[in-house]
Amino acid sequence: MDRQLARAIVNKLGSTGTPPEFGIEHFTVGLEPYLKVIEDEYLDGILKYNLSSFKLITGNYGGGKTHFLYTVRNLAFGHNYCVAYVSLNPTECPFDKLELVYKGIAANLIAPRPADAPTAVRDKGIESVVRKWHDDQRQLHDRTDSLRKYLETLPTTESTSFSNAVRGAFAGLMAEDGEGFNDVVQWLKGEDVSKEMRVQHRISERIDKATAFRVLRSLIQWVHAIGYTGLILLFDEAERGMSISSSRDKRRALDNLRQLVDECGNSRLPGAMVFYAVPDENLLLEGSGGVYEALKQRLRSAFNETNPVGVRINLEELGIEPAEFLKRLGARLADLFEAAYEMKLPDAKRDAVLRTLADIAISAFAFDVGYRRLFVVSVLDAFHQLRATPALEFGRKEAEKLLRVTTQRLEQTDKEQVEKEEF
């Protein structure tokens, strides 16, 4: 394994316990059965017949939801899907404001790419997908009139305004009209544009709460029309996107979710698959602000190897005992660490660190910050200690202390993160 890649992964995992968006397969454990079903049944299955699907991902904080979503993203790239990973939050991207959700999707849209390196900012967003679309077509059509003809015959989308906008952006690139291109892309990103610009490109709609769903469907239809298999939408931290004050807002957010669930399955979302990750479905579906039983019933069925049509993917039930899971994860982390620092950890001490930390993390911290994340951060910390002091004695007492300090640190980091974003 590349030393720099290994070091980048160790650095990211060791600091916060959250996975980096690259090199995820180097420390993936236990997800294989779920991923195989998702690949066989959906990415390489019904989505290729222009159908669509919705899955609810549940798993505790630090239980691997983001990891799972990144893994799905990489699988999807391999099957020629565009992907948008959107981290929901109450201010920038709350689920009760679909126009902001669309904005989040447009800003995070990525065309298929290798997954072993971070995505550069210029490769992210609807602008880069339009540019890539233009560049790819330019290579296929050596003459301008042929390219123009291609554009004219491009299937239209549900929203004519959206269709006109993407054609306008493409035409702007063809004509090397940078300003014109930027104007239309501004609208595609969900930002306000001048009336003159809209008139010029025959865009009659604004992207607001009344049109956001139609524009989102149109985005999916366009991605499909320009040659990709479809679009995979990965919504993370969904409980935060719902943490809104009033009952009315909550209802609107749940209505949007219900509509999205209901839309999946019909032909208006060709090749689309939506993954919506929450720590506990009850955070979303229960509580004092009203309960949407109709939605609850839609999201109730459990997905597994024998029931691929189930909606709820529970990452707490991977079919591996926690001890075995942490044992396998620990071994992969050790390999990563050794590759990152081009060294060999002393076998006996490495195994003792992994065994002790796994044992205590499961028995004493099962209901804390998420024993998986806690284990990852603590193991890497212990490995660093072992690297600095090869003769280090690491017993239960040291392990307990490390896990306790790490719990407090992760809780503090999470708290600061939430406060920073919301206020």
């Binding site: 109730r300 804390d368 306790r404």
Partner: protein, 280 residues
């Protein structure tokens, strides 16, 4: 001489108060980790008394002791939290109740426990934070586990047999429809029926003398649990008519009078129902 006696008396009073508090605090140190929240409360109260003590070498020593003890309390808090999950699960072993979720919110079978490590208290709910059963409980993992076991067992023991409940519900439904001039088959709020049901459940002694001590209570939580048992047993038939529960809409779920949460499984999943009806 003037005022000196009063000053000494005041100093003596303050000293004695402090001595009493310090003695009480020393008792708490017999189990420093499990008494951590009581220690935190006591140390906060001691802070004022120490500050009010006249500036002297004694006060300096008290201030230093207070500072060290406050740091020790933080350490004990961390140890308490470390032990909490393990002890709680151990206390529930063999109860059949599964524990899910993450602190500070745990799902324990059909109950939810919200813990507050800062305040050292816990609140127990029926279902997912639906019906608050008790708040301000001491944050003692084994005691909490015992309370939950007890409530869980009591619900089972006092549960009305499903077919008997269906019969009583039908009787209450007919009575309510008769009083309100509604035809059979009409949907009736579950909570409207609950009061009729409670009346039907009263013993003969209550009919003869409707005094408080003769009254047999039937709280919402037991009604909810018994409906769960009824659903599990599939006891929906009463003679020729069929009992039907109607799912609540979004707005109704925010009103206690319009919806009742009923478990779907022992793991704590459930559904809000608003109405009940009987029809052929």
């Amino acid at each position: 001489m003037e005022g000196l006696a009063e000053l000494l008396q005041s100093l003596s009073d303050q000293s004695q108060r402090l001595v009493r508090r310090l003695a009480a605090y020393r008792d708490l140190l017999s189990d420093p980790v499990n008494n951590v929240h009581a220690r935190a409360k006591a140390i906060a109260q001691l802070s004022g008394a120490i500050q009010a003590f006249p500036d002297s070498e004694v006060r300096q020593k008290l201030v230093e002791w207070h500072r060290n003890e406050s740091a020790a309390i933080e350490q004990s808090r961390s140890e308490f939290r470390f032990e909490f999950g393990r002890q709680f699960v151990a206390g529930l072993e063999g109860s059949g109740m599964t524990v899910k979720g993450q602190l500070p919110l745990l799902r324990v079978g059909l109950f939810t426990v919200r813990v507050d490590f800062e305040a050292g208290s816990a609140t127990i709910f029926w279902g997912p934070e639906i019906e608050k059963l008790k708040s301000g409980l001491a944050l003692a993992p084994l005691e909490l586990a015992t309370t939950l076991r007890k409530w869980n067992e009591r619900l089972r023991q006092k549960s009305v047999e499903p077919s008997k409940l269906a019969g009583r519900l039908h009787a209450a439904y007919r009575r309510f429809c008769g009083l309100e001039g509604l035809s059979e088959g009409t949907r009736v709020f579950l909570l409207d029926l609950l009061s009729e049901l409670v009346l039907l459940m009263q013993p003969e002694s209550f009919r003869l003398n409707p005094a408080q001590e003769k009254f047999v209570e039937y709280p919402r939580v037991r009604f909810s649990y018994d409906l769960f048992r009824l659903k599990q047993a599939g006891a929906f038939s009463v003679g020729e008519v069929q009992l039907k529960l109607h799912v609540a809409n979004f707005d109704a779920t925010t009103e206690k009078a319009k919806a009742l949460w009923v478990p779907d499984s022992e793991e704590g999943d459930g559904t809000h129902y608003s109405y009940i009806s009987f029809s052929k």
